[in-house]
Subunit: 401 residues, 4 copies
């Protein structure tokens, strides 16, 4: 049962869902289990503890909710805020746009700072906004760490500094969907109050888990937040944590075993080594784009994303043709340009379970696609540029020393 199969393996380079390692597929290849058996809490406890290591937090409480990133967003907002609470946030791509849409429909008072698609959060604007709020009407500052649509990584540490310097008590809520587990992310050090991700990104699992860490201030806020919520209510989870049975409703034991396997792999490689691998792949991809004579949608190096690269095509080209042709001829899955950048960018995802050679194969594919579509490219140029960097930066594999 396969729809539109192609020869060989699908070269999956969308910025999520990403390639699932065989180890994870194996771990999930199992019958259902009674989630009220004494065996389940052992697993539950182990993954709830260890996701905090991925978020680099010891102070937060973790929640693993059977939902997607969109649900995790909703969980973060409704557990910490009350209707009409003021949120300050930034619209810099399709995913921040969608989160803002959610905020508005959930009846929050959203102060949206619009930013060029391709730029990141301007700290000086943030500072201004906070200083203009002496009575602390702003209850939360919501930031997408890595805007997957434009390949922009925001400076969370800088945002925390601004918040601190302005002595502003707003909660700091972070969408880490395409960052946590792949990019440098430090929940405690950066004073993030709620951070969240989805299983199908850096954790290289199927979709289905919204993973949320809530710091002490957020947890405190959840006690008085008046947003209506049941499915996403942290309090139901906390009640079951106390009882030691962990889930207020049926979890997917398969995904929990998968998460266990995925984190085992990350810890075995070393979380910081995983992050370094993503930096390597991100940089290599950007070198290839440069060699092709194309522009990165991300406007400044400080915002370059190491999990996804949004490539601008020349104005006479349609980037959706790039994606379509890659799929039709080379079994290569690239990301479309979304919304404002539809037709203008295509995206190369380079996150999760991936190594240098897989990436180089995809870059070679992009070269052929571009040339097929009439863009004058020297075949091998991008791969060569990327290789030159990867060759010198890739370490020997730990387990094979």
């Amino acid at each position: 049962m396969e729809y539109q199969p192609g020869p060989g393996r699908n070269n999956l380079f969308v910025p999520g869902p990403v390639n699932v390692p065989e180890q994870v597929l194996r771990a999930m290849n199992r019958n259902n289990e009674d989630y009220r058996s004494p065996a389940m809490p052992i697993l539950a406890k182990s993954v709830l503890e260890d996701v905090k290591r991925i978020f680099k937090t010891t102070s937060a409480t973790s929640f693993i909710i059977p939902t997607t990133g969109t649900g995790a967003w909703e969980s973060a907002l409704t557990n910490t805020l009350s209707p009409r609470d003021k949120i300050l946030t930034f619209r810099l791509g399709q995913f921040s746009l969608l989160w803002i849409d959610q905020m508005q429909r959930l009846n929050f008072d959203v102060d949206v700072v619009d930013v060029d698609w391709g730029a990141g959060v301007d700290l000086s604007v943030l500072r201004e906004k906070l200083l203009a709020d002496p009575y602390h009407q702003i209850k939360a500052v919501c930031v997408v760490h890595n805007e997957t649509a434009t390949g922009v990584t925001n400076d969370l540490s800088g945002i925390r500094n601004v918040l601190d310097r302005c002595r502003h008590p707003a909660l700091f809520l972070v969408d880490g969907v395409s960052s946590i587990g792949a990019l440098d992310f430090r929940m405690d050090e950066w004073g993030v109050d709620v951070a969240l991700t989805g299983s199908q990104k850096a954790l290289s699992l199927p979709t289905g888990l919204g993973i949320i860490c809530a710091g002490p201030k957020a947890l405190e806020a959840s006690k008085t937040a008046k947003s209506l919520r049941v499915f996403f209510d942290w309090n139901d989870y906390l009640k079951f944590y106390k009882m030691g049975t962990y889930w207020p409703y049926t979890p997917s034991s398969q995904l929990l075993y998968g998460l266990r396997a995925s984190m085992d792999m990350i810890f075995e490689e070393g979380l910081d080594n995983v992050i370094a691998r993503h930096q390597r792949c991100g940089h290599a991809t950007r070198l290839a784009v440069e060699a092709w004579g194309l522009k990165n949608c991300t406007q400044k190096p400080e915002w370059f994303s190491d999990t996804v690269t949004a490539v601008l095509v020349p104005s006479h080209m349609d980037s959706s043709q790039v994606v379509k042709h890659a799929w039709k001829k080379y079994n290569l899955s690239l990301g479309l340009g979304l919304n404002k950048v539809a037709g203008k960018v295509f995206r190369i995802g380079h996150l999760g379970h991936l190594n240098e050679l897989q990436l180089l194969g995809a870059l070679a594919g992009v070269e052929m696609v571009l040339k097929d579509l009439g863009y004058p490219i020297q075949l091998g140029s991008g791969v060569g540029a990327a290789s030159a960097y990867l060759m010198q930066s890739t370490p020997l594999i730990k387990s094979r020393l």
Copy 2:
């Protein structure tokens, strides 16, 4: 990686999550896919259409949401009702209780009819309530088709008749979590406006899909319902249905392939044959309980459930010991008594991917457990009674004629 493994296969007889067929495990054993590729809509369309056959509806619109039954409940309520809308419903076990808790926390005005745990919906009470509502303040009647905690199946056709005779326009919302796909359920014929189930029950999948069918009246109601919702909002789905891309956020392609496989198996066996198999297993289980000299928690035969049997233990026994001992000695997973019936009942699930011999093995296990715990049982008595019935009622396997 196994927590508390036992010899042989776990004998999983909780009323969900149920045994996943190998065919379904196989279908799900796959890498992630780009959910925006042209291949996905083909799969999406096929499962969205076919779940309607499981619900026996042609007029409804189906939604497959990455959530659990609890989320599906929330989806049914928030899409059709506005805060403070009046709901009439019945509390007859832990799952109706939890749904009611959700209704109340979502700020609906809930008129709860409390029913003995072990009894079903009293149609005359329903009739009274509806007749006492000439101005149609009641916007929805919410019923759990099969109360999993007590093994009570309600008479949905009867409820529809009462609604019709009272000419009451309230929406008829049905939790079919432990019924649809296993018990006789006819959405269109019975005039159900919203029906829902979860993937881990009769469909024999892992947890992770909330499956909802909304009839035309419910869909109409969703246009004006003022409950805040984003993740669970049907309108987002409808928007993507129109575009032909089907999902407003990332679905689990693995579960969709699994659902495809699960429904293929159901259609191959024949949905009505599947239902008949559940009737057979339900009846056989009740015969065993009777042979053991034990009482069914379900108070009248008209409410007997064919997917779960809640067995009352003698007053000097603690039913949770039954469950614990079954797990510790025989690798048998039974359902606990919940809330009001905690300690009083244990539950034998008999739904989903299951055949007669698997059931008889579990019944033999229950016999040994009961005897181990001092209950005077004649070993083989329940199995013999069940076998006598199964022998005469089990048909030859279609594919092997």
Copy 3:
């Protein structure tokens, strides 16, 4: 893709291939690997060492050959004997018959002692034969430990005693296909020179591995044995053992990982506990047969097999109808009567990955089958008799204490 599918899980009770645990399926669910990579020898070494623990030998050398039991037989014979060498052996069922056929076709001089099908090796006959061979023409005594066709387990310890008392130097070659890993088997203690099994029996793997342990005397014999052989030649293996790469031709890495997982499970449960579980299931099955008023094909209790029970049907019945009907109606797979006992016996396999409740389900199935076919049986009688024994003999599960 399923041929003749039935509802629920196939109840697989043939005496091999047996049920594969999910843990093993998971371990095997993987891509191919370069078998010349540095990772493979680590796995190879670990399984080659550990199979010896299953055989209870420290002095033997193990070989894991990509073949079946039939190939393992051929390997045992051709590596230790030369054409026209004299073999003393016993024909007591279909599998000893087939091995003898192989011996004859490989041009050995086979002295066959025919035994009633249902009886085991008569030690006094063995003694006679050995005493009648003062010049040690008999180079090997070949015995099937557990004759799968008739459910007869031979007394290997007794055979060794006779060999010793007669001071006969013949090699002692043992087919342990349906015994090793399930029945009490002690290679070193019993002075077995070559023992062999197949992966699809007690090890609960798919077919594909012939596992052979050769003691020092056998290994010495292999240096001069003149039987032509290449694929099955131990010397090729020994050469690669020395080089540390272990395989003279491509092994199945999947099966090796599966073997690793299977042995891990056996060691976790404890090999002697696994053997005790088989004794329990064997005894319980025999009690059921007795309760049904049927006869065991095995003629004396001393030969009762704990991995398979061959049940004699009354003379007016055709046992192949039992097997056929079990398959067609109850999704139950039983073993046919073979050759001399075709039509007369059906076989219940109870080996490998199995627990008490699975067995009781199968016994309940056999009861219904027999009654369906007109045999006057009291339903529940066999299950009750088996349960009474299992209840008192089954220990709590170690990991759940």
Copy 4:
């Protein structure tokens, strides 16, 4: 459970075992089955018939033996020849060498023509040999179609022509292990009497099946061939074919389902399209090698193999370092140089389940490895050369038109 794991997916480019498609892994992810059930012959028949399409024969009889290529060799020889029968054959690499070793140890009278490693069969030598044999002492001509050690593909059609022109009745036995299903192979048209392959090569399965097709003349020869054989004896199979149960001993049902899935994929793509894809990948690889300034071990273009390329390293380099470094740094598995060419060549396998981008990733890896080891290479040069060819020769994917 993973030995020496690396980040991302292992880039498996040895010339077998090759990458197993997920479709095949899925098909094999299943419990054992009773191989004597009525379901098995349906599967058996379907695969036995369809492998003949892969061999392009309608006249031959197929055998699927639970063994490896080495066992398939033994089967081909022992079923058609008697000890001391004369065989004419060619030693042109490690695999022909090993087959010859087998022939000699099986006591045939082998006339070995030694050929430079890197060259193919010289038809004029063959002609001479045949003409020098007027009394037809030569009973078989044995040829390895594709010598995996040196990347040499022999001209089978030419060999048949020589045999025909010399009117020599010798059997024509062909090792198609690394060719059949990937290279142009026409059993009937080329008058091949026995052809064989292994499951882990072009069929992209795990190791474990030796697949043999025997034409009418070979089958006739098997009736009188005096080589001792049991496990490999075709006659046992033929006996079971007649009975309709197909296997004389237990097959691996998992591998048979896998073979079904594998062939379904090949037929879906189209066998000739599969062959064209291999030609494309072979040619692209050779262009890369040329661009790197390296020599192909294969001495003439007429012998170039499209399933494996053996690359000669400069004399000051050690090719085993290339293989080792690729494994240690890039998670890339390449083939070692074997025997005479050890240290001199490394091999890139490009067969089975593979597409252009996967290959280009591997070529990019080889470039970095070579440069890491001091070989002066322009990174991207080989990939560029290969891409230029692939871009123009790769068709759109059939299912995505």
